[in-house]
């Protein structure tokens, strides 16, 4: 079949399968229909629920302002799909163009979109992770369980890891007047994502709001009582914290295990794809019928030195899904690149935190507006003489402007003066990111380009 005849056929009667029925999966399905795809669409999701939104789970839900069972995503339009919910995809046969399901079924496709996202990294010691009262927070079920415990007025909540999710959980506990202890291996919260200068502000926020924040410590073990309920956490500084709820907030693991042996370029860092969302096979050759979007994808970005970026960002999942869906049913010259500028928000302790670009690439930071002490500021991050990222605390209206600087590779430090520039914002200072070779709890942007030191990748050809 000639290429355009194939496309016409694909758009009219082709079979598209989407694995991962969450934010990216749903938005891709809607885009496919919007763009006139009339063939069959199958949505496969291992959770038994229709697509729901996760950011409220650590915010409105824990604050008691929304129910975990009621965060389903609104629909932009009907998608007329066949929904296979509550069943995981367990394998992929790229040669036969088939997805294998946990219930033994197989689903054939002409185009496949993988949007399986990430899952919470569990507490590494399984027996301790299984103690009653130990939680992670990624899914609606996690949130429902945790919310129930918080409502039962626990004596103390213990959060392991002070990344965005861990900090939001601590914030919600304080808003409910629950005693909370946060343990973080780094010297401050949020350092993996925003560096030590901003991390110090986050640490003040925690402490002023009554969080018992312990930094520079590791949790060495969780202890249960005689009936298997968690009762204490032990720390590397020799201290012990009595607690009845533990939330493990140690970042995420990419859901790629089901692709082992498929021949796709999938591994612990995600699934590599080109800027048009087409997946690479393990040989580094781009596929033409397998696409990737959302948290599970990693793709090269021209603004950031063509580094492969893995983004655990809501907005990325939406835009990448739209680009992937468009490209799945378009001819090569009509395809679009996914060139989204990373953007992320969080709210904790009543402060609105937003970032654009890739702050974690920054070597230096300049407080261009406001002041750290007032916790209302804009910080610009510099990398090799250009602006590479920005963060705002309660100053989000300026973010768009800084995004423009990042997009145009404006010089760093910025030559101009800004309104509200303070004495502390006259000189850039080191942004103070931890050594990137040491793992931290989810920085939310991971630079995962090839590193010559990385010898962990093991290729498993599908057809040896």
């Amino acid at each position: 079949m000639a290429a355009d005849a194939f496309l016409t056929w694909l758009r009219r009667e082709g079979r598209i399968v989407i694995v991962g029925a969450s934010l990216a999966g749903l938005r891709a399905a809607e885009t496919l229909r919007d763009e006139g795809f009339e063939g069959s669409l199958t949505m496969i999701g291992d959770e038994p629920y229709e697509p729901y939104d996760r950011p409220p789970l650590s915010k409105s839900v824990l604050l008691g302002k929304a129910s975990p069972a009621h965060t389903e995503l609104p629909r932009r339009r009907p998608v007329d799909a066949k929904w296979r919910l509550g069943v995981a995809a367990t394998g992929l046969d790229m040669a036969a163009k088939r997805v294998l399901l946990a219930d033994g079924d197989e689903v054939e496709y002409d185009r496949l979109l993988i949007a399986t996202g990430v899952r919470a990294r569990p507490w590494p010691r399984q027996a301790e992770a299984e103690l009653d009262g130990v939680f992670v927070l990624r899914t609606r079920d996690d949130a429902a369980g945790l919310q129930r415990r918080l409502m039962a007025s626990p004596r103390r909540v213990f959060v392991i890891g002070a990344g965005f999710t861990g900090s939001e959980i601590a914030s919600a506990c304080r808003a409910r007047d629950l005693p909370v202890t946060v343990a973080e291996r780094a010297d401050a919260p949020l350092v993996g994502a925003l560096g030590g200068v901003v991390g110090a502000v986050a640490a003040e926020l925690h402490r002023e709001n009554g969080v018992d924040l312990r930094t520079g410590v590791m949790v060495t073990g969780l202890e249960g009582d005689s009936v298997g309920r968690v009762r204490a956490a032990h720390l590397s500084d020799g201290s012990t914290v009595e607690t009845d709820v533990v939330v493990v907030s140690l970042g995420a693991t990419r859901n790629t295990e089901w692709l082992a042996g498929s021949g796709l370029g999938a591994g612990p860092r995600g699934i590599a794809c080109d800027a048009g969302c087409r997946a690479f096979d393990f040989r580094g050759i781009v596929t033409d019928d397998v696409f990737v979007a959302g948290d599970v994808a990693r793709s090269p970005h021209p603004l950031f030195g063509y580094q492969f970026l893995s983004l655990e960002h809501w907005g990325n999942a939406v835009t990448q899904a739209e680009v992937a869906a468009h490209n799945m049913i378009s001819s090569s010259t009509d395809r679009r690149p996914h060139m989204w500028v990373p953007a992320f928000w969080s709210s904790q302790f009543g402060v609105n935190i937003k970032s654009v670009g890739v702050p974690s690439m920054g070597e230096e930071i300049l407080i261009t507006q406001g002041s750290l002490a007032e916790r209302r500021f804009t910080g610009a991050y510099g990398y090799q003489g250009r602006v590479i990222g920005a963060v705002t605390f309660d100053n989000s209206r300026w973010l768009q402007f800084y995004q423009g600087l990042i997009e145009t590779a404006a010089p760093f430090p910025p030559a101009f003066l800004t309104v509200d520039r303070r004495p502390e914002g006259r000189q850039p200072v080191p942004a103070d990111f931890p050594d990137p070779s040491l793992p931290t709890h989810g920085p939310t942007v991971t630079l995962s380009g090839y590193s010559p030191a990385d010898r962990r990748l093991v290729f498993k050809p599908a057809h040896p």
């Binding site: 029925a21 038994p48 409105s60 009621h70 066949k82 709210s347 402060v351 209302r376 309660d394």
Partner: protein, 81 residues
């Protein structure tokens, strides 16, 4: 009725909290919290908030969409094309 706010876009103008105070609330100076599931009686207020948001950050169910619910596991076959 289901809704979601794109908080990347949201500039905290609080227009929505003014028009539909039972659904949207400010948490601190700038951060918005909202209830993603809204009672039908709030529909009009939400519609007003959607229209008034200066950056079009609020997405509510398209009026014709909610009919198509995802199938519960086991009954998916009946929802095929």
């Amino acid at each position: 009725m289901r809704l979601v706010v794109d908080l990347n876009k949201c500039q905290g103008y609080a227009q929505c909290a003014f028009l539909a105070p039972d659904v949207f609330a400010m948490h601190g100076e700038e951060a918005l919290t909202y209830n993603p599931r809204v009672d039908e009686e709030q529909r009009e207020n939400v519609a007003r908030a959607v229209a008034a948001c200066p950056v079009q950050a609020i997405l509510a169910d398209a009026l014709d969409a909610p009919g198509e619910m995802a199938a519960a596991p086991g009954e998916e076959e009946s929802h095929g094309r």
